[in-house]
């Protein structure tokens, strides 16, 4: 059946709502068995893209295949090979966790026995056994997210879409979710995950596609993207305002960022071995007292910032 090495291929996707064009030619490819993170700020078009790739939404131009099936012409076949965990939990609130799983399993056309067995397995894997026979509306946010993901895995589809799977989870639940996602990847599932958490993309994904305003603005591995923004940074803090002012004279305009409030200076360094010691030597000979110093490797936050030109909402907790 599948021949291409890409499990998901989208070319030149365009989508408008009325006059508002929200996707302006998105192309992306996900190699089978790998994970792609679709990274972008609020309103970038992540959910729209995922909904198109998972057959839920039509589009104006472009083409999409999932496991070589065309999402428009062969939507049913696509639905047979994908699992979707949308941005808001899509479980039946009045049914119990177990009933949700069994029902969805049977809607994937598993046999009754198979759906039962698989439901039990997932309840165990996702730590939901104790809550299995309670209506989903009594679940906490984290439990509901886990159930939601479990439901999309019921027929072990080879391709999974996860739209912001960890948004709104506390740190513990987020790490639990990461473990689940990593295990999925180990089993060879192709995963497309959207996230606003750069750390998440960095941690989990093989490749990252950054979108903003409906366009792909960068793509590559986390390492590629970081090296694009490049330079390491040296951050210095000083004991007093006098030291801080003197230091500004010493480094003479080479700062990347400065803050008289925090008495801090950030500068780019090209060579960590030479530049840092030179700066420190210069400061020492001017008798300037440094209270702390740190060298930062570029983070995806920096990538994001320099690419989108937007200040990313700081990740809470």
């Amino acid at each position: 059946m599948p021949q291409s090495k890409y499990a998901i291929e989208a070319k030149g996707l365009r989508k408008s709502y009325g006059k508002n064009e929200v996707l302006k030619g998105i192309s992306l490819k996900v190699e089978r068995g790998t994970m792609l993170a679709l990274l972008g700020p609020n309103g970038a078009g992540k959910t729209t893209t995922v909904r198109i790739l998972s057959t839920l939404l039509g589009f104006d131009k472009g083409s999409v295949t999932v496991e070589n099936y065309d999402v428009v012409k062969d939507a049913d076949s696509v639905r047979g090979v994908i699992g979707l965990t949308g941005q808001s939990a899509a479980v039946d609130e009045l049914l119990t966790g177990r009933e949700n799983l069994e029902m969805m399993g049977r809607l994937y056309h598993l046999t009754k026995a198979s759906a039962k067995e698989r439901a039990q397995e997932l309840l165990e894997d996702f730590d939901l056994v104790d809550a299995a026979n309670r209506p989903a509306k009594t679940y906490s946010g984290g439990m509901r997210r886990r159930l939601d993901l479990a439901v999309s895995l019921i027929a072990t589809p080879p391709v999974i879409f996860l739209d912001e799977p960890t948004t709104g989870l506390d740190p513990r639940s987020r790490i639990a979710m990461w473990t689940i996602i990593e295990n999925l990847k180990k089993n060879g599932t192709t995963i497309l995950l959207t996230t606003q958490y750069l750390e998440e993309a960095d941690q989990l994904a093989d490749r990252i596609v950054v979108i903003d305003g409906g366009k792909v603005i960068a793509e590559g591995t986390a390492k590629d993207l970081k090296s694009k923004v490049g330079k390491d940074r040296l951050e210095l803090t000083f004991e007093g305002a006098k030291d801080y002012k003197k230091a500004l004279e010493v480094v003479d305009g080479k700062t990347l960022d400065q803050s008289s409030e925090d008495l801090a200076i950030t500068m780019t360094i090209n060579d960590i071995n030479k530049d840092v010691s030179k700066v420190l030597a210069d400061l020492a000979s001017a008798k300037i007292r440094v209270s702390s110093m740190a060298v930062h490797k570029p983070t995806l936050d920096d990538v994001f910032l320099s690419l989108t030109g937007k200040v990313k909402k700081k990740e809470e907790q």
């Binding site: 049977r106 809607l107 056309h109 046999t111 198979s114 999309s152």
Partner: protein
Amino acid sequence: MAELKFVNRPKPLLAVTDSLLMIKRSSTHITRKMDELLGTFFQPIMFLVLFAAVFGGAIGGTLPHGVSYLNFLMAGIIVQTVAFGSTTTALAVAGDLQQGIIDRFRSLPMSNLAVLNGHVISDVFRNAISTIVMIITGFVIGFRTDASFLDWLAIAGLLLLFTIAFSWVAAIMGVLAKSIEGVQWLTFIIIFPLTFASSAFVPAESMVDGLRTFAENQPITHFVEAVRALMIGAPIGNHGWIAVAWGIGTLVVAMPIAAWLFKRKTTQ
């Protein structure tokens, strides 16, 4: 991990399975919502007893052939309860559309219409229970009938047709409504006048001219009159056929419209 086994059946049969699963889902919903259970069991009893007590005195003596008001009321109150009950379908459809669950269903390789089938058919079950509760209550407080087994079958058939037809109309309202309040309002302005401006509670002859013409010719009256005739052993006239024609006509029109609207709403 357990090996997965898939059902291997032709597509139309799978679509039937999908609908059965959705019927099970919607029926489970009804049993888990306290207000719906109360609505199913107690509301019909309350209506029946109240109407019989309040209108019985005023209207009782004026009925033709010395029919008692309770015997007259029975058909009307059943049809009215079923009509009002169809709001449940509208609410359930609207509720699904507002929640993420509809995306889940649509990302599955299942038949789209199964969701609507589920709500409509579970509504039939619920209405059947309400109707039986009312008939039993009716017998307890003095309802009497000479209807034969065949008459009862015909009554059941008519009510079934009425329920299904009305629920599909309600499904349309559920898809069209923008909110739950919208559903309540929509169904209210359609169902309330239809049931009260009919011969459900008082004979149409007692109404003023314009209203009477409307009441005598609208579908609910034909259903009520047909069921009533079968219950009290009066001549059924043309009401039976006209009711059946209305029922089938409504179904033929409402089903595809509901399906089309539902599909459109969920694909954009």
